[in-house]
Symmetry: C2
Subunit: 194 residues, 2 copies
Amino acid sequence: MADASTAKRRGRPDSATGHALLDATERVLRAEGYGAATSRRVAQEAGVKQQLLFYYFDSMDEMLLAAFQRRTQRGLARLQQDLASARPLRALWEDYSRAVDPKLTFEYMALANHHAGIRREVATFIRRTRRLQAERIAAVYRARGMSEAPVSPAAAAFLIGCVSLLLGREAGSGINTGHREVRRLVQWCLKQVE
Amino acid sequence: MADASTAKRRGRPDSATGHALLDATERVLRAEGYGAATSRRVAQEAGVKQQLLFYYFDSMDEMLLAAFQRRTQRGLARLQQDLASARPLRALWEDYSRAVDPKLTFEYMALANHHAGIRREVATFIRRTRRLQAERIAAVYRARGMSEAPVSPAAAAFLIGCVSLLLGREAGSGINTGHREVRRLVQWCLKQVE
DNA sequence: GTCTATACACCGATAGAC
DNA sequence: GTCTATCGGTGTATAGAC
């Protein structure tokens, strides 16, 4: 099965063209949605012939998964940096509010609904990041002597991701009802732990 | 332009077949995603011929919009009931946690990314519901003499929708990390205003 | 590694009979 | 209101030359 001689001859996805295809995929996902992420459209966006895509990836499903995996790897690296901060809660909030693209995230989440590989990847990514965040936040609480905080570390981790994502998504659609109040609440909470 | 003689002859979407098509659309969206919501697939699911769909709707885009509009109308009716409760915050939380389908919601949100009609409908729906919720919550705060609550009415309205949606989505993917803590926090908050 | 050529299914949508 | 027939376009994917 893993025999190289019977396997389909195939280029490495981590080559220049491979990355160009993944970049093109995300541009298309962002601008036109996963329904438009076809081999023709993505190849055109990357400036290569449609059929070449199948030299780098066995199928469209595999390419979408590869694009998402590259994204979670980068997300994990950024998370490590945020958690290394002296104010990890504030660092997480500001990083998520700035660097996470809600449109792309929602596209991947919808994709996960009916793409088993992406669904699995989403699940392991969320479990891992939330656990790392909760541990770091718990350390902050201990350092401040806040063992009885109403917002537990795991809840804080969930809320930061959840609120920043939805706030960003709505803002991107021109919806701002109540956002001022939510941001004020977040800042108030962040101050409580600093 | 609105001249009936020049307009395409067309059946009323609020007929038995029209609703059957909208029901079929949502089943397909839920199970296979908007990429699978094609005229052939939806018609098959509704048990009618593919071409009949275009007798009820001018285009696929229009049909998807009609399906979403029917959904927001029902959502608004349910909201009115929730707000009529003596404990509107708890009613909202429980209704949203039970009756909102996260999979379908995310599919529509991704769809809104590149479907102008749905994007507009989402925006007006969210603005309207959040305003109604915030007004009702403000009345509860006043009745309890909680004018200085850290969680303002608009922020509470945002958080209930935001948290219940993401919690439901994750749970549907088998992710539960931190959920217990979040639910406990929500219950604690609800008790504060009762 | 990139190209051309190509197979074959499915897409949205229209025309017109009944 | 539902049917059959059909159009041109696009989808994934493979074979094989260079």
